[in-house]
Symmetry: C2
């Protein structure tokens, strides 16, 4: 059974480090006294500072209304230790299930939002709704990451990247090409 992971405060302007590689995330929310979690693969960094993150949260998900009404969520980064939880959470609805209880996950208090952090995740990014201009047309939310928490090790956690059809790519080796970058591109 995975255990909660100790995290440290991390600069919101640097969350691309964890999200730009394209991992599956678990989005936690809180509204009208209830918590929920959804599995999400469709997200994208949009800006460093303010730290903007776009997420496609389909209105078919129970979380859609919770996040739209509360204007908040937490984007949590699971590792392969949580593979079965990621799949299970993505295959049931928060309308009928308390997912924290059902999957044995720990809801920890956030500091800037009412949505909880998921203790067992490697990182948690507290988000506030920044722009809902495309929510009506595309279910596209633009969030600002207002506080970030990251476990100090491992430096490169083993993340899950969804390809559809029930199949995941797991993050592999790390390579640097730093000497080939212009300084202003780093």
């Amino acid at each position: 059974m995975p255990k909660p992971v100790r995290k440290e405060v991390f600069p919101p302007a640097r969350v691309r480090r964890y999200l730009e590689p394209g991992p599956i995330v678990l989005v936690s929310s809180h509204w009208q006294g209830r918590d929920n979690i959804m599995t999400l693969g469709w997200h994208m960094i949009m800006e460093f500072s303010p730290s903007l993150l776009a997420c496609m949260i389909s209105r078919g998900n129970h979380s859609h209304r919770m996040i739209r009404e509360s204007g908040e969520c937490v984007v949590n980064l699971p590792t392969t230790r949580l593979t079965d939880e990621v799949v299970g959470i993505g295959n049931c609805s928060g309308a009928g299930t308390d997912k924290f209880a059902a999957f044995g996950l720990t809801a920890e208090p956030a500091s800037e939002v009412r949505a909880p952090l998921i203790g067992e995740c490697h990182a948690s990014f507290e988000c506030r709704l920044h722009d809902d201009a495309l929510v009506g047309k595309y279910d596209l939310f633009v969030f600002e990451v207002v506080k970030a928490h990251v476990a100090p090790s491992p430096r490169h956690p083993e993340t899950l990247h969804y390809t559809g059809d029930g199949v995941f790519m797991v993050s592999g080796r790390i390579i640097s090409r730093r000497p080939l970058f212009r300084p202003e591109m780093l």
Copy 2:
């Protein structure tokens, strides 16, 4: 030196298979008689059908105007065979460089757009601008993938996933949890 890869036509509704895991892509464009290429990490699948893809293309890039004016581009998927080209292309401007020539890449004709495919990439997705509502505010383009071309093998190409600081994560092993999915979630 990488060589052009033979590709087959692929259903646009299934491009999430290649893009949802979050790889670095090479975006090719054509405007006023010139081709260009840029390296891009900020993209996101938005819908299966029509096949919608959001891309953040900063106005600081020469490609921004070419794509906005032509309303077209091709999103190409490079593998680790093209790592140095990916870095090189991301660290120079198309304003002063013919990047196809400079990096020894092959511009192949697309079928639905005037922007060229990059022959050496594993897959190429021809895109037409679908919605420019957020281009002015965020440089966010919403494209429709109108035609897709994918090399039939390998089934899981070794892709590059950028973490910032000149460091890439390379795609790793493949795992399936298909039996745990509800049929309608596949």
